[in-house]
């Protein structure tokens, strides 16, 4: 039986893992390579490396840092941020990443999903999408709109329609972030997650809102997510990966056990 995955996201800025705090800017937390090694030891199932300022600064992803992390961990490893085209994807894969996440680039140019899937296989292309609740309307039948630039810019795309389109274009997985839940620590957006997950046939990673292991249990059961993404829960030492996985597994969700 397939296990549900616990994924840790490292948001990286100026070679440091950072965490955005609402209205307060960013706080540096640690070195990405050291943190990756520590989470690998702690039994994380997958790691995401996100170069958060690459796009805004108009530069490619920090490929040296990607390569250093890739040499440290031997689990699935996705990267995102600053991916502009298929050549950027290729460079990240050659540096040792396994999946490439595209978000705003795919909104601007949906064909990048098809091109990436054709060049490297569907399993390589992860669609990152940020969804915001706007209420059900003719334009947004799902009630959620896709936004970019950290939620600041609406795109006019309906979240569910976009998820299905991305699947048709060849995305191998969706990382679904709720802008409304992100940073609240009050739990994932279960309705959104469940709606997307039940209506696509590719795996869905839930993101945004995790503050307690119960939230992870909820999104993997009621939310029907295939994986749960966390960051600050473990970054500040409040929880360990192992501790979270044991807690979730004890509530009947299958998780990979990692030997001590």
């Amino acid at each position: 039986m397939l296990s549900k995955r616990l994924i840790i996201c490292l948001d990286v800025r100026d070679k440091k893992v950072t965490k955005g705090v609402k209205f307060q800017g960013n706080v540096d937390i640690g070195d990405p390579v050291e943190m990756a090694a520590q989470y690998y030891e702690d039994g994380v199932d997958e790691l995401v490396f996100y170069d958060i300022t690459a796009s805004a600064e108009g530069r490619p992803i920090d490929i040296e840092m990607v390569a250093e992390v890739a040499r440290t961990i031997f689990i699935p490893f996705s990267v995102g941020g600053g991916i502009r085209n298929v050549d950027d994807m290729r460079r990240a894969l050659l540096a040792g990443a396994e999946k490439i996440s595209v978000n705003s680039l795919a909104v601007k140019n949906p064909d990048i999903i098809r091109e990436g899937a054709r060049a490297f296989g569907n399993q390589c292309v992860v669609l990152g999408m940020d969804a915001k609740f706007v209420g059900v309307s003719e334009k947004f039948p799902s009630g959620y709109e896709i936004v970019v630039r950290g939620g600041r810019t609406p795109t006019g795309n309906d979240a569910l329609a976009w998820a299905k389109q991305a699947e048709d274009l060849g995305a191998g997985e969706i990382c679904l972030n709720s802008i409304d839940a992100d940073g609240t620590k009050e739990g994932y957006e279960l309705n959104l997650t469940r709606m997307i997950s039940e209506n696509v046939s590719i795996p869905v990673i839930a993101s945004g809102g995790a503050g307690h292991p119960d939230h992870i249990v909820d999104v993997l059961t009621q939310g029907r997510a295939d994986a749960a993404l966390i960051a600050s829960m473990v970054h500040y030492g409040d929880y360990t990966c192992r501790g979270i996985k044991d807690y979730v597994a004890a509530r009947g969700v299958r998780m990979r056990a990692v030997a001590l």
Binding site: M1, L2, P76, C124, S201, I202, P203, R256, A259
Partner: protein, 208 residues
Amino acid sequence: MLAILDYEAGNLTSVELAVQHVGGDCVVTKDPKEVAYAERVIFPGVGAAKSAMANLQRFGLDRAIKDAVASGKPVLAICIGLQLAFDFSEEDGGVDCLGLLPGKVKRFVFPPEKHVKIPHMGWNEITVTQPHPLLKDVNPGDECYYVHSYYAAAEDEKMLYCRTEYEGVNFTGAAGKGNFFATQFHPEKSGEVGLSILRNFLKWDGKA
């Protein structure tokens, strides 16, 4: 020297990094001569069977793999490498494969109302069905990382080494014959369990 076959079927860096991590001296190559010269060979890859087969043929690597297996040197196939080792794959309307192992590769098919995700992506238990030198450090309950939409149904139980189950379908997690061994999962992405398999491969004399 260990040769990792590069036939332009996806990402090889992670295989290379994992082999280096466990102490292997390796070269990534599409040159059949280098494959013939190598002491052991890894045949990795992700992607679609038909284009992978076409690429192997284009570089003359289909022959190189068969020769390597015939020569008795240890050969490890991973993911699409396992699928191409069988007789035939249903993918893309059907493609004849290398025929190193008897059996067919089929697509996962589930009733739509079951909402089963394809690809089968993530960590799943590998049940060892008979001992093998490469699997000697695998413990009951150990999981490995999979990502695939097609699976091999091994016809010959004697060649089956690991079984994995996905939503009621039992499929080949690992299969082998003599000096040839193949995994559907990715040892290079399966944490310490996967690394133990690669470490054992580096020491393997090719005898099952």
